[in-house]
């Protein structure tokens, strides 16, 4: 799919921005962790907004909380994607750890759903747990824990997914409880790196650049999902 028409059907307030339901005029497949670019058809020059679906609705998608606050239901949208590389959840994974340090699990929701579908036990580690936990409706099967419990839990997990901002990436090691010298990874895992992506790869602008074990990479093209081991000893 190149670009297609869509419509904003419904919006709701979420702690980090508005969430919304979008009707899409075109069938599409999207892997958890991939993103879409959305803009108002009427906007002359605004940059597209990066949207991570939190689930698929009939003929469309539910977006994670990233819509501009001045978008109102009924707006005609133009949508492009899916773009980037999403999560690869090992089919054999039975114990999944998911972490959203900013307290918003919506970008991880499609992966949580996929985990439950393949019969895995899912624990979700949320920052700002007290403020946020009640906000996001979660499947009953998910066990929710504070972010500080993440390091202990990693002993039993066989796959870890983290949604973290580029700005916080340098504290990824700390988040997982790795000490300075201790670089051994607790388990396999992947990291969704949230960042501005103004050009979405068209210009190699470098706003979304991050240093990985293999050198500089662009979140918009090479990510936004990266293997944990690519990031950990660089950032940790």
């Amino acid at each position: 799919m190149d670009a297609c028409n869509a419509q904003l059907i419904e919006i709701w307030q979420a702690p980090e921005g508005n969430g919304g339901r979008i009707r899409v005029d075109h069938p599409f497949d999207i892997v958890p962790g991939q993103y879409m670019l959305v803009r108002r058809a009427s906007d002359l020059s605004s940059l597209p907004v990066v949207v991570f679906p939190s689930s698929k609705a009939d003929n469309g998608l539910i977006t994670a909380s990233s819509l501009p606050v001045d978008w109102t239901p009924g707006e005609q949208l133009s949508l492009r994607g899916p773009l980037g590389h999403g999560f690869r959840l090992p089919a054999s994974a039975r114990f999944l750890g998911m972490a959203a340090p900013n307290g918003d699990p919506s970008r991880l929701m499609p992966l949580i759903d996929a985990g439950i579908r393949q019969g895995a036990a899912v624990s979700l580690f949320l920052g700002k747990l007290n403020e946020r936990a009640s906000f996001f409706p979660l499947p009953a099967a998910v066990e929710v824990q504070p972010l500080s419990a993440l390091p202990e839990a990693l002993v039993w997990a066989d796959f870890l997914a983290v949604d973290i901002s580029l700005r916080s990436l340098s504290s990824l090691g700390e988040l997982l409880g790795l000490k300075g010298g201790d670089q051994k990874l607790p388990c396999l895992g992947q990291v969704l790196v949230r960042t501005d992506m103004p050009c979405a790869g068209i210009a190699d602008c470098g706003v979304c650049a991050l240093k990985t074990r293999s050198g500089w990479r662009l979140a918009c093209k090479d990510g936004p999902v990266f293997d944990l081991e690519e990031l950990i000893d660089v950032a940790g």
């Binding site: 002359l44 940059l47 133009s78 103004p198 068209i202 190699d204």
Partner: protein, 267 residues
């Protein structure tokens, strides 16, 4: 005394159709997927290239504000030799002639880069960018070291026009391109960040700059916040010899023909 004609002769540079992408808007080479109607552009301008590699700025960011956005990137690039290695073959195979944008830091490094580009295929010009606070004298020295076999384009932000444009009149520079204005905005945390500005709000100052440069007799590539065919027309009316497109190329699903086609047909 014999007059050395080549010393004052401008090298002809024709961009046809009269449209280019701005440096920094489409990467280092024309990637097939970025634009579907390449034939509407007359040349491809590369991202800025420096002699040595430049890392992304520590506090790289994109800040939205009003009808604009500020981009602070540090102009990351792998450095001149790495760029040559990666892209020379792609430039040769490019659907468009290529203009390489060089970050003009020092006379010696710049001269080296230009001499090396003179032997590359499908490169029709070199474009030079200066640091924001470059004086007219410095700009003159840098330009002089770049003159050779390839036509030279100078990119100036609207703020550099009053300082540097006078040096370009009666020089061997082939064209001037108006590039992004610079600005400053607070980021999410209230920290002030400087960077390049994009968006429709930049157009009125760009148009004014084009008008001034054209009135000085310079051949101008105008651009900055162009999103509509009416803006394209206004630039030609102000005296632009060609028009450059920047962030409009990032909107996706863009119909370039709608944006510039009408103006082409009318010429």
């Amino acid at each position: 005394m014999w007059l050395d004609e080549s010393a004052i002769q401008k090298q002809d540079l024709i961009i046809d159709p009269p449209y280019v992408n701005a440096a920094g808007s489409l990467g280092f080479y024309p990637e097939a997927s970025a634009v579907s109607d390449w034939h509407l552009l007359g040349a491809f301008i590369t991202n800025p290239v420096s002699l040595k590699a430049r890392k992304p700025a520590e506090n790289r960011v994109c800040i939205n504000f009003a009808d604009e956005f500020l981009l602070h990137t540090g102009l990351p690039n792998p450095g001149f030799l790495a760029v040559l290695k990666r892209y020379t073959q792609r430039w040769v195979r490019s659907p468009l002639p290529v203009i390489v944008h060089l970050i003009a830091e020092d006379v010696k490094g710049l001269a080296q880069m230009v001499r090396r580009l003179e032997v590359c295929e499908n490169i029709i010009a070199v474009e030079l960018g200066f640091a924001p606070d470059t004086s007219a004298d410095e700009a003159g020295r840098l330009m002089d070291s770049a003159f050779g076999e390839l036509p030279i384009i100078i990119s100036l932000s609207p703020y550099q026009v009053s300082t540097i444009a006078p040096v370009l009149v009666d020089s061997r520079v082939s064209m001037v391109r108006i590039c992004e204005a610079r600005g400053m905005l607070p980021d999410d945390n209230g920290k002030l960040v400087h960077g390049r500005l994009y968006g429709a709000g930049l157009f009125p100052t760009a148009l004014q700059a084009v008008h001034e440069l054209a009135a000085m007799g310079l051949s101008v590539i105008g651009g900055g916040g162009v999103y509509t065919n009416a803006q394209v027309k206004a630039l030609f009316q102000a005296g632009a010899a060609a028009v450059s497109l920047d962030a409009v190329l990032w909107l996706g699903g863009l119909n370039l023909d709608m944006l510039i086609g009408e103006s082409i047909k009318e010429q």
